[in-house]
Amino acid sequence: MTPLPTWQRGMRGWWRRDPAFRRYLLREATSVAIGAYALMLLAGLGCLVAGPAAWQRWEGLILSPVGLLLQAVVFAAAVIHAVSWFRLMPLTIPPLGRPGRRLADGAIHAGAWAASALCSLGLLGWLVYGA
């Protein structure tokens, strides 16, 4: 007996079908910018080990117009990432609160943003006023 003919839905250009698909791709694509920023930090660390001259070259590179433009892209990606990460948080963390009385999504969002504000202020305070 021959298998029944089946029809396979084409997946070519699937993101064109729904704006939600494009939002999903945008969120996933933030990882490219985040990875690039991690490489930038790693390069800076390498230059810091190499000495003052190398460090100055790295600083000049990240503060050049191209470097600042790329960091603007990374900043936008980081904000999109943070917004989507916290918005999905009620689905990605284990249930909080007593059984039958799940913590409201709004409370989780508020807690996440409060933690983000606290960590960000702490980090900036240390980077600007530390040492």
Binding site: M11, R12, L25, E28, A29, S31, V32, I34, G35, Y37, A38, L39, L41, L42, L45, G46, L48, V49, P52, W55, Q56, E59, I62, L63, L68, Q71, A72, V74, F75, A78, V79, H81, A82, W85, F86, T92, A112, A115, S116, C119, S120, L121, L123, L124, W126, L127, V128, G130, A131
Partner: protein, 124 residues
């Protein structure tokens, strides 16, 4: 052992992806704001700035800061590697053994380099 019941590596990578994602959501906007806006704006008239060589070495004199820096670079790399791997799959690139090894291998290499470099950092 039967291949059907072999344990998956996925939870380990997902843990690193999640940790990096949480870290990025918590502090990455602030960090990029610092390196991209605050540093160029706060530059002094004599060219002295927040990212001067000795100042940065001073900030990193505390061992906790070195661990945090290396850990942050590594986690951001693992986060990006995992998501880029799945992004490739979504865009129709087969996420086979080769792509997996390149993505996670790059993240592992970045982690190793970050840990090694942070140990080699000179004291101020």
């Amino acid at each position: 052992m039967n291949a059907r019941f072999r344990r998956s590596h996925e939870p380990l990578f997902w843990l690193l992806f999640g940790a990096g994602g949480l870290l990025a959501a918590l502090v990455l906007p602030a960090l990029v704001l610092f390196t991209g806006v605050i540093v160029p704006v706060a530059r002094g008239p004599g060219g002295e700035g927040l990212l001067d060589y000795t100042r940065v070495l001073g900030l990193l004199a505390w061992p906790g800061a070195r661990v945090a820096l290396a850990g942050s670079i590594a986690l951001l790399a693992w986060h990006a590697a995992h998501r880029i791997l799945h992004l490739c799959h979504d865009l129709g690139v087969h996420a086979g053994r080769g792509l997996k090894w390149s993505c996670y291998g790059s993240a592992a290499l970045v982690s190793l380099l970050a840990c090694g470099l942070v140990i080699l950092l000179p004291s101020p």
